[in-house]
Amino acid sequence: MFRGAFSIWGRDLLVLRRSILSELISVVAYPLTLYLAFGFGLRGYITDVEGVPYSLFIAPGLISMTAVNAAFDESAWSMWFHRRVQRTIEEYRVTPVTVYDIVIGKIFSGFSQGAIKGAVVFLVIMLLTPFRIDYSHLPIYLLCIAISSMTFSCVGTICGTVIDKPENIGRMQSVVIVPLIFMAGIFFPLSSYPPAVLPFIKLLPTTAIFEGSRDALLSGFVPGYYLVNLVLSAALCFAIAVFTFNRKMAE
């Protein structure tokens, strides 16, 4: 079962292995810059947020952001490239693999990239800054990141499937993905929102991702409604990704 998915996943990991160093340097640079700029630059102005030191407050979000961004990027660009440029999707489709194999293989790849890149950013922040965690919180945090990466990987797969022009994938990131990430309280507490807006913000899957993973990493506990939101978002996005891919291929 899913032999085709594992073959496609294995291919993507082989390609990643070849370019891992350059990939990691570019991936680590962005969140690390944000961490140094906000964590250190604003240290004199914001000492803590709801009792948590500011540099500690933003670290889980930056790690999670790296992971989900990497998952989205890998799935969206890989799907687009294989479909529109290399046309290797067509080669996969004349072998006995199913549509599920292709979508799941690509989602696994996005998830793996997210996990590897998130872990590296985590290690680099640990190495270069005083950021420390209780390691007993790690399993629940990793669970949050795994489900979140899966969601973003599915969203990336959908974008890579339906978007034909590469610039539109960039626009999708700028107009939808980045605002959703930044609105979810990576750099500020959700309590900053007006009370009328807050319930809607809490419904965003990105809020569940970033708030949930922060709670997981700092307290070892994820509120149930965030966990439900994470699982439902991942399931819904997976169903849409499979449906969209199937439909696109039938065109």
Partner: protein, 308 residues
């Protein structure tokens, strides 16, 4: 002889436009079948239906007895496909491209490794197996795509315009290779090149606008066309006036002028004498019966107008 491919009244429609219209065909096992047609004739649509990349609007097709509608996975197990474009993975080496294909077919390393060694030797790519396809010439990439389609030893091989864009040497090399596959598997080939169809195919079908126009061996098609009696007449000096006069003759089917030379298609054998009578007094440099080529058959059936 059992059939490797059967198409039953296949129609593929896009709104009112029919890319393929009630197309039926049976291809015998172990033969090389060539489908010829101009751009937009429906050749690639048929290959996409047969390789399960596209579903027909009406009808069903069978490959090695498996329905493309109901048994797509079983169809894909027994086919190899060489698409029009070289859809190789440029981030994998030549060998890794073949390995991935073997894995997608569920082959184990002990099954695919010797087969890949054999195919790399056969296609002359063994010394370049660790290189990336981007560093290959067009001919080498094409050979690699053919090798990839053969890793799992398919029973039916689909080749969609396999030599388009290749230099003459690479074309000849690929022809040799395809000839070598004859009898080992069924080959379904589409091409624009008449010499290719002539050299490779046991049976040729010419199609246009989604329907079959002619079907037979290259010799049969040429023979059928030769009954049309095409004469090549070359005049001395100014020959402009001859075109209209020749076209007006009741026994002349068509006149194609190329400078001072005219290709005149007559209605039948008994039209030769009246033509000669008409030409008496004209300054003729040369007159000969034109042996038809497969290209003449093709042009006569599909027209000379350039397709988009």
């Amino acid at each position: 002889m059992p059939h490797a491919i059967t198409l039953n009244d296949i129609t593929k429609a896009y709104g009112d436009f029919k890319a393929v219209d009630r197309f039926s065909l049976e291809v015998e096992r172990g033969t090389v079948f060539g489908l010829l047609g101009p751009n937009g004739a429906g050749k690639t649509t048929l290959i996409k239906i047969l390789t399960t990349l596209m579903r027909p609007t009406l009808g069903d097709a069978f490959v090695e007895g498996f329905s493309v509608l109901a048994q797509g996975k079983a169809v894909r197990r027994v086919i190899g496909v060489v698409p029009q474009e070289n859809n190789l993975d440029r981030y994998l080496t030549a060998r890794e491209n073949l390995i991935l294909h073997g894995r997608l077919h569920g082959m184990s390393p002990s099954a695919y490794n010797p087969r890949i060694d054999e195919l790399l030797e056969l296609t002359g790519l063994a010394s370049r197996q660790r290189d990336f396809p981007d560093t290959f010439s067009g001919g080498m990439q094409r050979r690699l795509v053919v090798a990839r389609a053969l890793v799992h030893e398919p029973r039916v091989l689909f080749l969609d315009e396999p030599t388009t864009g290749l230099d003459p040497q690479s074309r000849r090399a690929l022809w040799e290779y395809i000839r070598g596959l004859r009898r080992k598997m069924t080959v379904f080939l589409t091409t624009h090149y008449m010499d290719e169809a002539d050299a490779l195919c046991d049976r040729i079908m010419i199609m246009d606008h989604g329907v079959s126009l002619a079907d037979g061996t290259a010799a049969q098609l040429k023979d059928a066309f030769s009954r049309a009696h095409v004469y090549e007449v070359e005049f001395r000096g100014d020959s402009a006036g001859h075109e209209a006069r020749l076209s007006a003759l009741p026994f002349v089917r068509s006149v194609v002028r190329n400078g001072t030379t005219f290709n005149i298609t007559l209605a039948g054998e008994d039209s030769i004498k009246p033509l000669m009578d008409h030409l008496v007094g004209a300054e003729i440099r040369r007159i000969c019966l034109k042996e038809p080529t497969l290209e003449d058959v093709f042009i006569s059936l599909t027209g000379e107008k350039v397709r988009e």
